[in-house]
């Protein structure tokens, strides 16, 4: 049985610019221990799907199953790493990692020990007592990963956790994350719009398309690990996925153009200065 199973999930938002079909009939299975990456253009509903899996948002229709049981609310079995880290600035790195452990009801001694262990895992032992603003962006994301791992979740949900970082830092973190994943055997669902990042990290890359957000294609990545972002094989597969993405964008553009074209044609027939196509 799949670890996570997204079944016929649809979700609409009613925003200030009308309604947006963020997800439409999305089906997706994530195997136990799998590193799954979602890629897709901006605004196609990746975050929405991740939030639904996290239990932070409820879908309009469909359901998400974890080990066969429906997900209805957030839980420590599914840790989330948010794009902006979402760490608490009033706590030190150590206390941030301890936070979920405290909510679990662990005693101070055990909390401290576990937090120390996970900070060590992300190579931040020296910065345990630093406040957030004393850490670099990459360090903060590592604290966020340590915090997510500290509760020993079964699933790790990561929403563009490295998007705001520079290329070098990101590369280091790919390595660290891949290593952590191999060591802990967690199931990971990772969102990005960087296709190379997707190929470098994932077992499987799922391509999302926009309007409405749905699964367009899936690519198995059977390249040997460790992988590096500038490997030829990574680049080749990334190119293939990029092409599929481009194709999708072209389709969307055409649809938009189509609408515009009809509008223009209508104007020719019923413009302000015309009656049934004849100039006044």
């Amino acid at each position: 049985m799949a670890k996570l199973s997204v079944r016929a999930v649809s979700k609409k938002f009613y925003g200030s610019s009308g309604e947006v079909q963020a997800l439409l009939d999305v089906w997706l299975d994530v195997e136990d221990g799998e590193f799954l990456v979602l890629v897709g253009p901006s605004g196609c509903g990746k975050s929405t799907l991740l939030n639904v899996v996290a239990g932070l948002d409820l879908p309009d229709t469909g359901e998400v199953l974890e080990d066969g049981r429906p997900v209805s609310r957030p839980g420590r079995d599914r840790s989330v790493v948010f794009q902006e880290g979402a760490l608490f600035p009033w706590l030190t790195a150590q206390k941030n990692v301890e936070f979920p452990l405290k909510q679990m009801g662990l005693r101070a001694r055990e909390r401290a020990e576990r937090a120390r262990y996970y900070l060590h895992l992300v190579h931040l032992s020296r910065f345990r007592d630093s406040y957030l603003h004393e850490l670099s962006g990459g360090m903060r994301q590592r604290v966020a990963i340590a915090r997510a791992l500290a509760v020993d979740p079964e699933v790790l949900l990561m929403d563009e956790p490295f998007a705001a970082l520079d290329a070098q830092t990101r590369e280091d973190l790919y390595e660290q994350l891949a290593e952590l994943w191999q060591r802990t055997g967690k199931t990971i669902m990772f969102v990005t719009h960087n296709v190379r990042e997707a190929v470098c990290l994932g077992d499987r890359v799922v391509l999302f398309s926009a309007r409405p957000g749905r699964v367009r294609a899936a690519f198995d990545v059977s390249l040997a690990r460790p992988r590096f972002i500038d490997d030829v094989d990574v680049a080749r597969l990334a190119r293939q996925i990029s092409l599929a993405m481009k194709e999708d964008r072209r389709r969307i553009r055409e649809e938009e153009y189509d609408v515009d074209w009809h509008a223009a044609a209508g104007a020719l027939l019923h413009g302000v200065d015309r009656v049934l196509g004849d100039p006044l």
Partner: protein, 249 residues
């Protein structure tokens, strides 16, 4: 620091010179020296200390009450929609009312006594504190709350460990504002009837036509205000801002 010291020395010298020129009656325009003497005399006969003590006790009680109520009310207003739509607009309306305006009401309700003054102090500070706390809680980034939910934060911990610490900078701003409002309301209240505090002592100076006492008490009021503002709230706010990573010097 040196510049400031020099400025105040020059100011006092100027004041002394004005007095020496004898344009105004010495009783109406006391020299710095006479003010210092009065300060010393009232300190020695303990009347100044007594008045300061009475005023400080009043403000501490009133302020703590206002601060506690304000934080609770502010948080509730920010979290409960129906309360915000009803009581929230009332609070905004009442906030525009200068706190002395509560005095007639307080006198009718409580009579000429401490409780009336306390009421004015509380009303003076409460609304400012409430509004600041409300703003602070409203401005907590939603992602903190979402993160807290994914970490299994309980309903109580959500307030004590996320919402309140996250809005602490705003709460402190409110605390500082509330203090200055409370201090002003207290002085206004004390001026108006026999009440033994600093405000009353100021009024006594007027009635005895002892201008040096008026000025001496004014100095004490300024000093206490500055002390609270700088030594307590200034230091606290600076530390919180630094830790929250808000300080951008």
């Amino acid at each position: 620091m040196l510049r400031r010291a020099l400025f105040f020395m020059a100011l006092i010298a100027f004041w002394e010179i004005l007095c020496r020129l004898g344009i105004w009656e010495p009783t109406l325009f006391p020299s710095p020296w006479r003010v210092a003497q009065t300060l010393w005399r009232t300190l020695a006969d303990r009347s100044l200390l007594l008045a300061t003590g009475v005023s400080l006790r009043r403000i501490l009680v009133g302020y703590l009450l206002a601060q506690t109520l304000g934080v609770v009310l502010g948080v509730l207003l920010a979290r409960l929609r129906w309360l915000e739509e009803t009581v929230g607009s009332l609070v905004l309306g009442l906030q525009t009312l200068p706190s002395v305006c509560w005095l007639p009401l307080a006198l009718l309700w409580f009579g000429l006594n401490d409780r009336a003054i306390l009421f004015v102090v509380v009303m003076g500070a409460l609304l400012a504190v409430t509004v600041s706390v409300h703003d602070g809680v409203k401005n907590v980034p939603p992602v903190y709350l979402r993160a807290a939910r994914t970490m299994g934060t309980g309903p109580v911990a959500l307030y004590t460990e996320v919402l309140l610490p996250a809005s602490l900078p705003a709460i402190l701003t409110g605390a500082k504002l509330g203090w200055s409002f409370a201090w002003r309301s207290l002085m206004a209240g004390e001026l108006l009837f026999v009440s033994l505090g600093l405000g009353h002592m100021l009024m006594m100076g007027r009635e005895l036509a002892d201008m040096s006492q008026v000025v001496a008490v004014m100095l004490v009021i300024i000093l206490l205000g500055l002390l609270a503002d700088r030594a307590i709230f200034g230091v606290l706010a600076a530390r919180v801002r630094e830790r929250w990573g808000l300080a951008h010097p």
